[in-house]
Symmetry: C2
Subunit: 348 residues, 2 copies
């Protein structure tokens, strides 16, 4: 159904769509060396935590194919891959998982089959993410059906949470695409998501490639859209969900949730259990990264503001769990959002 | 104190700053013909309803100086000026006021002094706006002092409501500048106001020229800023205020007001009595203009979205009067916002 895959693995060659050129150009690059994979992450050909993770995994598969026959070479390749984006937690996590497999396989004398083993592990991880995201989409679909019957719905989302970020299937945007495939989506409103415009660039691109009717809107239009009755439900992703259900996500999420609560519009967070951080009790413990001021002072590479102006550019905000109608993970939906229910659902 | 005047009148010559070039270049143009003034409005050298109105008035002063000695020529000049921006209500209103003066002066045999009469009338109008806006700023300042004593405050605004829009002094931004001159402003947060970025381009420019410390932020950051305790009070302008206090203003205003109400942050509309439309009972009667989709699909003239994407671009939204802490006009502040109190205050 979908015409574009952001990441393909075929017989030792990793093919990535160049996300820097989207939505205006669909350019694919092939990688068959660790150096190439490193560059694809460093230069942001690839983005989105899950997709960076898969790219790193296939980088290790390539290392196992190409490298000298020893663990030292593989470890060097892994450490090198990690330096491509030092702050990407997911990248280091997946490299370390691959290195763990390398170590045990080599220690137990299975160096010859290591390439196949790592390849299978990596493909399995993508398959698992697909299964989990499909499970979330089905849970969300049941929830929508409970609320709205078979009405064709107008859905809204923020930022990008689709296949460009996740690979096989998205989270919040996966829900929307699944509902569309079931014939239950009338129109999608994609909030453009200043300053980096992931909504206008990437979500609009995904909706276009999936043939879903959509309109891009500015964040300022939240209240207008809901007051007009144009929105039936809102789905967003999450960067981190803590024990009480408070959720860190792209800046704008908390503003959107407050406005949705005001108008009584159902508002859902969609994220796999791996996004939950049960070691933090409440959102107060989440530190918000401030990104470069230039992202706000400029748009599309052009300076907006006077040269003397400063900007405040928080990357994320924290949505209070009381503003969420539900949190959807692959294990189920949490509607009565208490620490007990979050822990129970996440631990399965 | 301020180094830049957007409109100057000096001995028959109208000087305008070219707002299309702001904030990066300060270019002034001189006009001494009706054709030139027409072009300045049509080509958007000048913007903001009050400033367009003053420009039109001085266009008529120039017509009275240059034109043939008869009413027909003046009427032709007036009708010609109106065509510069046919939808600008203010433009037609000021031209008609000037024509009314032309008619009575000529009828009563005072053609020779018409130029001086019109010039004085136009300068008086600017002086009146300045007095009214200064009165609003003082009312707002008293309100802030009642609430916060002599604390140095962090204030927030949206869109552009300063001297670039109004000429001698702004409305909401006039309040902020006045409070700054009284030594009571710590920092100003200017929301960039996508899609047209009046906040990032023009408000940031005005704050810069007035030496006021400020940061530009995206609309998505509303909740982040208030949750962090960074905002003490918010001031916005208005395009139209109806009898029950519901207020049409730049898209984003209603979203901002809902978030402010949620966090208990004081939120004020600042607008002269001429902005009130007491013939409409509630905001339901206000029709919202949809502007070209390209404004959202592009930023700084660069295409953001796929060519197939659509956009919804409401120019304004309506803030419910229940989300306003107060409405400030030159006659006073309305805090108990009922139709009776609105009518009483506006009628003086």
């Amino acid at each position: 159904m979908r015409k574009v895959e952001p990441l393909r693995w075929n017989n030792g060659v990793l093919t990535l769509i160049d996300q820097r050129k989207l939505p205006h150009q669909e350019i694919f690059h092939d990688y068959s060396s660790v150096e190439g994979v490193h560059a694809s992450i460093k230069d942001m050909v690839v983005r989105g935590a899950p997709l960076i993770g898969f790219t790193a995994l296939f980088g290790m598969v390539i290392a196992a194919k190409n490298n000298a026959n020893d663990l030292t070479g593989l470890k060097e390749a892994g450490e090198y891959l990690k330096t491509a984006r030092p702050t990407a937690v997911n990248l280091a996590y997946e490299v370390d998982r691959a290195l763990g497999i390398c170590e045990s396989e080599i220690t137990e004398g299975r160096r010859d089959s290591l390439y196949q083993t790592l390849e299978k592990f990596s493909l399995d991880q993508m398959e698992k993410l697909y299964r989990d995201n499909l499970a979330m989409a089905k849970i969300a679909f049941r929830e929508l059906t409970e609320k709205y019957g078979d009405k064709k719905l107008n859905l809204m989302t923020l930022c990008n949470t689709g296949f460009l970020a996740c690979g096989p299937m998205g989270t919040a945007l996966g829900v929307i695409e699944y509902a569309f495939e079931q014939g239950r989506v009338n129109h999608v409103y994609a909030s453009e998501t200043r300053p980096y415009l992931q909504g206008g660039r990437l979500t609009a691109y995904e909706l276009t490639t999936s043939g879903i009717p959509h309109s891009v809107t500015v964040e300022g239009a939240f209240s207008y859209l809901m007051k007009k009755g144009l929105i039936d439900a809102i789905f967003i992703g999450a960067d981190r969900i803590v024990e009480n259900g408070d959720t860190a996500n792209k800046v704008g999420s908390s503003t959107l949730a407050i406005v949705a609560k005001h108008y009584g519009i159902p508002f859902y967070t969609v994220a796999p259990t791996s996004t939950f951080d049960l070691s933090s009790k409440t959102g107060e413990e989440i530190e918000i990264e401030l990104r470069p001021e230039e992202e706000v002072l400029e748009a599309m590479g052009e300076r907006i503001c006077p040269k003397e102006s400063r900007a405040l550019n928080p990357s994320f905000d924290v949505t209070d769990h009381q503003h969420l109608t539900g949190i959807i993970c692959e294990n189920g939906i949490i509607k009565d959002i208490t620490p007990e229910n979050v822990v129970k659902t996440v631990r399965g």
